[in-house]
């Protein structure tokens, strides 16, 4: 099976240059051909496993746990760009005023 590297890269938000495409195409295609072996198995009457030890509906009391809350200073400690108590992010909408 041959995969469309450009399409997957776009879906995954992974920057890929044109000269990386042939190698990635080869690697991803061989991996996807390999995982395709599962199609040999009939699983029509098999349930999915999402949680392997069988725990269900794990909840905690609905109250604030102060000891596990970061202060604004701690939360911003590693931010590449910040201002006052805010993270600076890329603009989502351009301001055309």
């Amino acid at each position: 099976m041959k995969v469309d590297v450009k399409k997957i890269a776009k879906l995954a938000h992974i920057p890929v240059t044109n000269d990386q495409i042939p190698q990635l195409e080869k690697e991803l295609s061989s991996i996807i051909t390999f995982i395709d072996t599962l199609q040999q198995l009939d699983t029509t009457s098999v349930e999915s496993t999402n949680q392997v030890t069988g725990l269900t509906h794990v909840v905690r009391a609905d109250r604030v746990e102060f000891e596990s809350i970061l202060t604004p200073q701690q939360a911003l400690l590693n931010a590449p760009q910040k201002e006052d108590n805010y993270f600076i992010v890329k603009a989502v909408f351009e301001n055309n005023d």
């Binding site: 997957i8 995982i35 999915s48």
Partner: protein, 477 residues
Amino acid sequence: MINIADLTIQKAQDLLKSKQVSAVELAESCINNITQHNPTLNAVLTVNASAIEDAKEADSLIASDSSIFEQKPLLGIPLLHKDVYSTKDLRTTAASKVLEAYIPPYDATVVKKLNEAGVITLGKTNLDAWAHGSSGENSDFGATKNPYDLQRTPGGSSSGSAAALPAGMCLVSTGTDTGGSIRLPAAFCNLVGLKPTYGRVSRYGIIAMGSSFDSIGHFTKTVTDSAKVLSVTAGLDRHDGTTVPHTPPQYHENLGSGTSLKGKKIGIVREFDHEGTDRAIAQVTRNAIKTIESLGAEVVDVSLPHAQYAIATYYILIPAEVSSNLGRMTGTRFGKGYEAFGDEAKRRIMIGAYTLSAGYYDAYYNKALKVRTLIKQDFDTVFENVDALLCPVSPSTPFKLGEKANDPLAMYLSDIFVAPMNLAGVPALSVPAGSVNGLPVGIQFVSKHFDEENLYKIAYAYEQARGNIEGLNNLSF
């Protein structure tokens, strides 16, 4: 300087309690070995500058309170953490350029528990970036070398944690086992490596790879040492909803006399005995089977018919979970953005995006969740009849660095004997079993969910009967 490479936690505790050695001496000896051998081995990424201060505090506690070891069972024991464990104020990189300068503002639960138990954290160890790999070669900071042969891999992804112990850099190191990342390097470096049951040890604060798989374990030289550490790390954590409520036992106090396996039934997995395995390794496994038979265990043939699908299932589910977990690395709150990911992280994110995309989701992701059920049922069925399984860990001895580096699929297949346990969530313990051409070979014992106590008893009995491992290369650094 004390010889750390030949020392166990158990022996160090005797020496600390009888005041024949101090916590400072232990820490200094380890740091000395790091300084001397790390330029060759590349096992450690960051050294904790306050380690000696911490050891001094441990020594003053030991001097002032003779019962202190009851409250702090690992007091003064030097430790290294795999660099995916969040350590407050100590750089944590996941061996990725993305987190090159990341300083966690909090401790992982396990880090906190080990600190409370008195360990001296010496630093952080190298790994395949984000724990993606089986050889350590995917580290953005260079590959770690195997101390028994510098041309070869120490195994991955917990490569630095495994290489550090034979090199005398610590007495215990932590790791994560998502698809074999503790057991494979343990087998390659002549160590005991525990993959606990999924949910036995908290994942909180440990940088996630595959959240439905990640198992938080450790490396030691002996089974007793491994049990001592699990007695500290196991248990319920309200910050991790997958941890279970029942209180874990004190594993190290329940190892038994270690002389008999009478009444124990041990399964040998038919499907793991195939021509793809190195003959000499298969012989090591057969010798281990003879040893447990001589201890009175009943050995029976068992089948895991779906184990052959484990790697394919794993490489659908893991990339799917990886693509979701690494989606947070946007470079806004911490670290750099997607452009800083290495090749293997990129491959996994892209495979995950592919198998989760519209039109493919049912064929891949949902299919794999169902095959996971079949694999888990195989284990459930065999554990109705046997107390544990004895299996090989790796089909080959430690391979040469570079040998599989350009073939991702060949690298994935290094984990054929270790990944099935992660799909089923069962615990497994890798134990040294012999050597081939001077290189270490391990076996693993596997048991049903939350039965680590039984696992340790069987492995302890085997370890006592096995004796010393002969024929290993001299450490070569």
